[in-house]
């Protein structure tokens, strides 16, 4: 369980204040405020349509927010869900591009290739990879980048149970080395197994923020129960 992870929380890496975003008549985010501390494994949980991806895109500067402030946004890198970048290029090239263009750490490449079992399809064009293979490739790309905060939208989407466990282990290894991870996960049970702290998002609003112990109102309450009680 993630609660056993050594506490290396030191300082606020990113602060979000009153972030709002509307798409016409639809309010996607409303006065969202929270902070991310260095070294933590933070889970953004919420049902489909809660505004998780919109929040990530606003934080990454890929979507203009209507109001609100984001402090130190340059310290993050974001891996969106459902993309197939550079589909004609082989995965090996994309990983090298992450090193050359984003200033990634080349020493991590062999390690990540082994950890995420990428070797069999390194030579394959990204467009020809399965969803799970592509997801692992993109996780490797994200982990290569040098930003202290890595945000991943649905890191386990498209992975089978075994792959999910392997990926979770890899992410925890990198978090243990001090990399801050902010993960959007719509499967609350997955998030509960994996993260230190949670932000519960529903209908574009932050319903609660904290560790499971902080959020639980009764002993033995699960994250799913907490979420259902709050939303």
């Amino acid at each position: 369980m993630c609660h056993n992870r050594p506490a290396i929380l030191r300082y606020v890496l990113l602060r979000v204040d009153n972030l709002s975003k509307r798409f016409g008549q639809i309010t996607a985010l409303e006065n969202v405020s929270f902070e991310i501390r260095s070294g933590e494994l933070l889970g953004l949980i919420g049902p489909n349509g809660a505004g998780k991806s919109t929040l990530f895109e606003c934080l990454a500067g890929l979507l203009p927010a209507d109001t609100g402030t984001i402090t130190a946004p340059e310290s993050l890198f974001y891996i969106p869900d459902g993309i197939a970048p550079w589909p004609a290029q082989p995965l090996s090239w994309a990983l090298q591009f992450a090193i050359d263009y984003f200033g990634g750490n080349p020493a991590l490449l062999p390690e990540l290739t082994a950890q995420l079992d990428l070797a069999p399809f390194l030579a394959q064009p990204i467009g020809a990879l399965s969803k799970g293979q592509r997801k692992r490739g993109l996780l490797a790309l994200g982990l290569l980048t040098p930003q202290p905060l890595l945000m991943i939208d649905e890191p386990f989407d498209g992975l089978d149970l075994r792959q999910m466990r392997d990926v979770a282990a890899v992410l925890k290894t990198h978090a243990a080395r001090g990399r801050t991870l902010f993960l959007s996960i719509h499967q609350i049970a997955d998030a509960a197994r994996f993260c230190d702290r949670f932000i519960l998002l529903s209908n574009g609003r932050v319903r609660a923020e904290g560790t499971l112990a902080e959020l639980a109102t009764a002993p033995g309450q699960t994250l799913e129960e907490v979420f259902l009680a709050l939303t």
């Binding site: 895109e57 990454a60 500067g61 890929l62 979507l63 203009p64 340059e74 890198f77 974001y78 891996i79 969106p80 459902g82 993309i83 197939a84 970048p85 550079w86 589909p87 004609a88 290029q89 082989p90 090239w93 591009f97 090193i99 050359d100 263009y101 984003f102 200033g103 080349p106 030579a123 394959q124 064009p125 467009g127 020809a128 790309l141």
Partner: protein
Amino acid sequence: MPSPSRALLHKEWRELLASRAWWLLLLLIGPLTGMSFIAAVNTYAEVSAAAGETLTPLSGIWAPTGSACELVAVFLLPFVVIRIVGADRQSGALKLELQRPQSRLTRIAAKSAIALAGWAVALLPLLAAAALWRSYGGHIHPSDLLVLLTGHLLNGGLTIALAAAATSLAEHPSTAAILTLSVTVGTWIITFFAALRGGLWERIAAYTPAAVVAEFQHGLLSLPTLLVSLTLLLAGLTLAAVWQPLGTRTSRKLQQTAALGLITALALFLAVQTHQSWDLSENRANSFPLADELALRSLPQPLKITARLAPEDGRRVDLERNAFSKLRRLLPNVEIEFQSATATGLFEQAAAGYGEITYAYNGRSETNRVATAEGVLESIYAVTGLQPANLPEIPFRGHPLAVTPTGAGALFYLLWPGLTLLCGVYVRRRFQ
């Protein structure tokens, strides 16, 4: 480790190599150039046999052969550019790449540089045609080819800037393609109106891509044309850079677009104020004889010419091409005005004064109906009292050549497509 800019350039080059659109463009431009070249060589041979005097390869071979490049620049190159600029957005790569703090112009400049390099490769059949022409014993005047290639590169650059701007503005590649082709059709409409109405339309039409290429095909390097083209090219690329970022508000992009429009308008206004041009054609096709130029340059007062000819009157077209365009190059302060009540002049023929050309200089005037270059010069001398110096002129004999285009079919219809296919398959396999 390569610099981020170099990594970006390398990535764009790989994306170009992976693009089917570019390989298809390469595949088609060979046979198209070959077809134009073979037709041009045959026609050149026929004219050479009949009356070969003053024939030049620039107008007889390179201009018609290069028309294939014009066609490809209009109908195929935009799709290659849309692929290069728009694929990142479609695949989601843009969301990753934009997270690296980098100047917006740098990203567009890298894409445009690679697209231009891709276009330069597509001009290779034109150079192959030159080599073939040389092998037939044909004459090549280096500046002819250089000016022609510059014209096609500039035309390609304009297409790239236009398509890049359209791709950044549009959400979808098909919308970008429609936008690009709409602008191209728009330039044709301007040309149509220019022929019909003259005046301001005519001035604007002089800077459409087709007119720019035509100028280069005549061996003319004109500073205003260059400056206007480069301004439009930079404006297109900047517009693409303004609209590419995903995290910028539309209102901010609109403000930046308005500012860009103002700056572009100012730059265009300044560009059209320049008059410098260089006639690089071997036979000085865009200039009067040297003795006449020397005499005309010494005119201290402005000359005014009024021609009562409709825009679609053939005499006006001849006058413009053979005399007035040369005069404007030579005398920036010459005032030339066309007057007509109709577009065709068909129903004005009987009107008093229609067809007359009046030359006014320093209070004196001269009116006649002579519409040849020699007639115009004589009229100017009559009204100004000038006399051309008696300079010895070496008559231009031209380079007639009656040959058959041996080997051109094999080169352009078999070898070029075959090589393109082989290279395309090899490169795509290497990626896998």
